[in-house]
Amino acid sequence: MIKNNILCIKLRVISISLCFVAGLLVSAAQADKLPYVSQSKIRILAGPGETVSGEITIENPTAESKNINLYLEDWHYLHGSSGAKEFVSPNSMPYSACPWISFTPRNIQVPPFGKQKVSYSVNIPAGAEGARYASLFFETMVSKGVPLLKSGSYAGFDINIRVATLFYVEVQGTVFRSGQLNNLKVEPSQAVGGGLDINLDFANTGNTDIATLGEFILKNKEGAVVARGVFNNLYAFQHGKGALSSTIKEMIPPGVYGLKITVDLGKATAEAGMGNGPVITKEAVVTIGENNRVIEFGELS
């Protein structure tokens, strides 16, 4: 009987301890839980003189209160048309949407495990046309380089992080997507293993941003496909330019071939659920000799 009681007490102590330790561990895990960000891209299509409003919620799933600063900046694509962006001062770019966007509040204190809403409004001026771009940033401090030494040397950096909500604002009834493909080159590949490189230039001749999805097929005289591939995704503002490239890795038998290139200009709008295309299709004749030697290639038409 006594043994049973002792065993019972031991079991209770063990289980309560387990609960306590497990509880601590779960708390610690929640404290370390990393916040998430959704709605990192907003594409707006509205007419001149119209105002579009929305709300963004900022959530703090950590156990610490977070101070977050909100502000707008402009952005542009970095050289190379890969879609990589650089952010610059508001109103410094010719296609800045910053003057059209307002939001409130500008600074928020999000309590532990709490949420805060931010209201934004995009006012498109009467007479506006084309497309504008901006980024709304949410910035918070991670750590501060503080320990000041009385002697010796110390170098420290404050660390801040920010996430962007990119705005693409298109003025309904005025935007059009169009592009040109030029300067086709088919030449031996520089890559290890040989093959053929296909390069061409792209120019955005519309008045809004374009993100492309491109592909090619190479057909022989009988219409059989002997090679196919995809081009790099290309991103360009209105009047922007870039290069499309792809590689045929296979060894192509000597002969005359038809090269068909298709470039969909509507990748961005498709991702936003705003429709597909337009699509550019161009063809050229390519004559290939022994060992993938390019004898000649014609103009795109």
Binding site: I16, V37, S40, A84, G145, P147, S151
Partner: protein, 204 residues
């Protein structure tokens, strides 16, 4: 009989404890870096509340019925205290290193980038400076890093934006390290030198 009573009381508690311990294991596997304990982490969350507002077609609305969208950045300095800092360095010393773990979680399925921006000169209160060229940055892969690191070699710091990383085309969650290395200048005046680094996460 006494034993039975004891089990009646303790079995639910033991099950609860086991569930909580298991939960901790899952959280830890999801949130902590592989290589080191995380001294500190912080980030910001944004959630669109009304994506279907009139005139708005947002890129996430088609997926609203699916899992919650995730797009988060965490930056964890591996130093103690958790910051990028160099202490007690002198001319002629071996370079000092600091590592920062950068982790991005995303389920958007779209490519993204991480930028670094050194926001000010590295200066003390008297305006004396340590040239930024005395600090190099280098992006380093971790096992399983999927994206493209843009500073594969040690490169002197400079003010302004520098592209650190571009994800794979699928926008997979990923992580990598940045190694900062300071070499004390020959004409170093002892003091406390401060600057700032801003890391930016955005979609491509």
């Amino acid at each position: 009989m006494t034993m039975l009573k004891a089990y009646r009381i303790n079995i639910p508690i033991l099950i609860l404890a086991a569930v909580m311990v298991f939960s901790r294991c899952s959280f830890a596997a999801d949130t902590l870096p592989d290589d080191n304990a995380a001294p500190e982490a912080s980030a910001v969350a944004i959630e669109e509340v009304s994506p279907a507002a009139a005139g708005i077609a947002d890129s996430n609305s088609n997926k609203s019925a699916q899992a919650e969208h995730v797009f988060e950045l965490s930056v964890i300095a591996q130093n103690q205290p958790s910051s990028v800092n160099f202490v007690n360095f002198n001319p002629g010393d071996s370079p000092q290193s600091n590592e920062v773990l950068v982790e991005i979680k995303s389920n958007l399925g779209r490519q993204y980038q991480v930028l670094q921006n050194v926001t000010s000169r590295l200066a003390n209160i008297d305006g004396q400076r340590i040239p930024l060229k005395n600090i190099t940055a280098q992006t380093l892969p971790l096992s399983g890093t999927k994206g493209f690191l843009k500073i594969p070699d040690k490169t002197p710091l400079k003010r302004g934006h520098v592209l650190l990383y571009i994800s794979d085309l699928e926008g997979s969650s990923d992580k990598f390290k940045i190694n900062y290395e300071l070499t004390a200048p020959e004409n170093l005046i002892p003091g406390n030198y401060l600057s700032g680094i801003l890391y930016t996460l955005s979609e491509i």
